[in-house]
């Protein structure tokens, strides 16, 4: 039995790796994805263009603009003469925000009366706009503490002392790269497996496999092991890239990451085999894989947190293997996640893997008869 199984696994690996076009697709895109998307997938806000209307004649208005100009967040700061111009720039998305300083700004500050700065923001980009509003408010609060009246009052900005654990400077790649390890492994595992049975059926070699002395469960193992190996190979490549190229700190232990990774890949391969057994053609298999991958990535917490989803949708994400493995991958890298917590997310992965592999085996048997 072992020789048979070994021969099948070698044959499957060769089938995947021998086709030059298929080989390129298997190796090139995942690496490109990692390089491009880990830099692109940032919710950080920098290089922002803004404009200002400064009607103030005193020094405080000029000082505020100087400080905004000095901040590294902003790229171009355009002076405007009136609201009509401001409206055009905001409408055409040339600037994200317009800061408006009124005529009596310096006079009110010198007289120790409350002065106001108006900020107009582009709500079409509400996430960036809120973060920029936060930056501007902090700059304004710093200035406020230096005004004659400000030496008495405490501003909320200095009242709140912030400390970011695990990622003190909120470096975005530290968040994205461990997540991408999970996402790209999912895509690779899914594509390799979903095509495996469908291709044999389309080429007619599936019948040959059925008349061979191999038993059904042996064929299934033979179809599961190669994608598992390929998935592990890719994941290891990304873990190395995360550590050495992206300088993401690895605070936890890889011995916790890998067992979880194996069950995660097994769960994904189960889904892939199920799709593959269900499809009659390669095209259907590709579409089926996409139909699973899109919701799996969107409902995993990869790009936006699960907490933000509506309450009825959140329990559904428990069925998503990516959701659980994301917690482990990010936790092991940044948080030195304790073994108990890793286990708490690995058990669901084991259950999902058992469920998907059993479903795939059942469908596979039914298709064989």
């Amino acid at each position: 039995m072992w020789t048979r199984l070994k021969a099948l696994i070698v044959k499957e690996l060769l089938a995947i790796l021998r086709d030059p076009k298929g080989r390129i697709v298997l190796i090139g895109p995942p690496i490109l994805q990692l390089l491009i998307f880990s830099f692109a997938a940032t919710l950080e806000v920098s290089n922002v263009d803004i404009a200002y209307i400064d009607r103030d004649t005193g020094r405080w208005g000029t000082e505020l603009i100087r400080r905004i100009d000095a901040s590294s967040t902003f790229r171009e700061i355009t002076p405007l003469t009136g609201m009509a111009e401001a409206r055009t720039l905001l409408d055409e998305r040339d600037v994200l925000a317009v800061v408006r300083i009124d005529q009596d700004f310096s006079r009110r500050i010198e007289a120790r009366r409350p002065a106001q700065v108006q900020i107009l923001l582009d709500g079409r980009r509400s996430n960036a706009a809120q973060i920029v509003a936060g930056y501007l408010e902090r700059i304004i609060a710093d200035l406020a503490s230096e005004t004659p009246g400000g030496k008495l009052a405490a501003s909320p900005s200095e009242t709140v002392v912030v400390q970011n654990w695990f990622n003190p400077n909120l470096t975005y790649t530290w968040f994205t790269v461990p997540g991408l390890i999970a996402v790209i492994s999912l895509l690779i595992g899914l594509i390799v497996t979903s095509l495996s049975v469908a291709r044999e059926r389309e080429l007619g070699t599936f019948d040959q496999l059925m008349v061979s002395p191999l038993r059904t469960h042996e064929i299934l193992i033979g179809k599961t092991v190669p994608p598992l190996l390929i998935g592990l190979f890719h994941a290891t490549l990304y873990v190395l890239a995360a550590i050495f190229i992206f300088q993401v700190p690895l605070r936890g232990s890889l011995f916790l990451l890998y067992p979880s990774l194996v069950f995660y890949l097994a769960a994904v391969i189960g889904v892939g085999l199920f799709i593959s057994s269900l499809s009659a053609t390669q095209q259907q298999a590709i579409l089926g894989a996409f139909l699973f991958a899109a919701p799996a990535v969107l409902l995993s917490g990869f790009a936006t947190p699960i907490d933000n989803m509506p309450a009825w949708l959140q329990p559904l994400t428990m069925l998503n293997p990516l959701r659980h493995f994301l917690v482990v991958a990010r936790g092991v890298f940044l948080k030195d996640l304790p073994a108990g917590e890793v286990l708490a997310d690995t058990i669901p992965l084991i259950l999902i893997a058992i469920a998907t592999l059993t479903a795939a085996a059942w469908l596979f048997r039914r298709r064989m008869e």
Partner: protein, 385 residues
């Protein structure tokens, strides 16, 4: 069966043989779409699934962030502040005695932050220099920024209340941020228009690439070329039904966006239509080019996902801001058609008709479309020789 967008009135009986050929070609392509369940899957089911996913599943609005509060001493001002955190609609606050109790929850991701009100808070407040500490979970940077901003907001409104009660002097400088076009700051309002772009990319690029690659694989493309049909006619006849399909799904998505998700449509339908039609040129051209170069369904689908779907999701400004990306990646976005439709479509929905913006974006999309078509027809011709 009437072919969509076909010049039917002109070629009822007679007409030039050219028109008859062209019409026959489009009827054939339209029938092919209608008879193939997988095309309908991409054109109708997939857009709806994606739109629901983006509308419900993807949200940047952090409502009710779970945080822990440590009150080191129970003075009245500290209790007031705790009450303010508990009453805030942004936080789900849980009280604890010691920050060490909460640290494991922060590690496990069960809470997003810890607010520490020190024992000296009441005394510091009298001196006018109160300080509280906010610890965030930096492993999710965007959430961490929101915890910081919301915590400052709670403290600010608490201070404002004391000012109103006359116990504190007013702040010397106040800020009044106003969010235009989307005062409620609902991320859905800009994510749903963005997801329409992704749906149209899928139909334009993935579906076209798959269908035409299948024809190459089966050899029916060569069979078509042996007929008197010219290359331009052939490609155009292939693409027009998909053009109509793309516009149809855009209308379907817009209806769902407006009627179900309540996204306002402040611009004109004319602008919406003009932008969508302009976008379909590069999207279809890209699909055609991919299929002509790869001539293989598997490779075509991978290339279409990698160069069409993923960039329209990640490199278009749909969720992630283009100016925040590193410069080489910003340059790369210049050739992504979706990058020009996302801002314009968000504007049509939320702002209204801003033609200077639309004109520039439509121009860029048509230009990219032209380049794709030229490359695609070259790749097709080369095959024949």
């Amino acid at each position: 069966m009437t072919p969509p967008a076909a010049p039917t009135q002109k070629s009822s009986q007679g007409g030039s043989p050219r028109w008859r050929r062209f019409r026959a070609l489009m009827v054939k392509e339209s029938l092919q779409i209608l008879r193939d369940p997988s095309s309908l899957l991409i054109a109708v089911v997939l857009p709806l699934i994606l739109l629901f996913l983006f509308g419900y599943g993807v949200s940047l609005d952090a409502n009710r962030l779970p945080v822990g509060i440590v009150m080191e001493a129970g003075s009245p001002p500290a209790r007031d502040l705790v009450a303010a955190f508990q009453a805030s609609r942004f936080f789900e606050a849980r009280l604890a005695r010691d920050r060490r109790e909460l640290a494991p929850d922060l590690v496990a991701g069960r809470i997003r932050g810890i607010v520490v009100i020190p024992a000296t808070f009441a005394a510091d407040l009298v001196e006018g220099r109160p300080a509280i500490q906010v610890i965030t979970d930096g492993s999710e940077p965007n959430v961490a920024s929101f915890v910081q901003n919301y915590a400052r907001g709670v403290v600010a409104s608490q201070l404002a209340q004391q000012i109103a009660e006359g116990t504190r002097p007013p702040p010397p400088l106040a800020t009044a941020p106003r969010f235009w076009f989307n005062p409620g700051l609902e991320s859905r309002f800009f994510l749903v228009p963005g997801s329409i772009v992704i749906v149209m990319t899928l139909i334009g690029t993935l579906l076209t690439a798959l269908v035409v690659a299948r024809e190459w694989e089966r050899g029916t493309m060569e069979a078509m070329m042996a007929t008197p049909v010219g290359i331009a006619e052939l490609l155009l006849g292939k693409l027009l039904p998909y053009f109509a399909l793309g516009l149809g799904s855009m209308i379907l998505c817009t209806s769902v966006a407006v009627l179900l998700f309540g996204v306002p449509l402040r611009g004109s339908p004319l602008a919406l239509l003009a932008l969508s039609m302009a976008f379909l040129c590069p999207a279809l051209g890209q699909g055609l080019l991919i299929s002509a170069v790869t001539k293989n369904q598997f490779v075509a689908s991978q290339v279409a996902l990698l160069s069409g779907f993923l960039p329209s999701f990640l490199l278009s400004g749909f969720i992630f801001e283009i100016p925040s990306m590193p410069l080489p990646i910003q340059w790369l976005t210049v050739i992504i058609p979706a990058r020009y439709l996302v801002p314009s479509l968000q504007t049509v929905f939320l702002t209204g008709d801003v033609w200077p913006l639309f004109r520039a974006d439509i121009g860029a999309m048509l230009l990219i479309g032209l380049v794709f078509f030229v490359l695609a027809s070259r790749a097709t011709k080369k095959r024949l020789v």
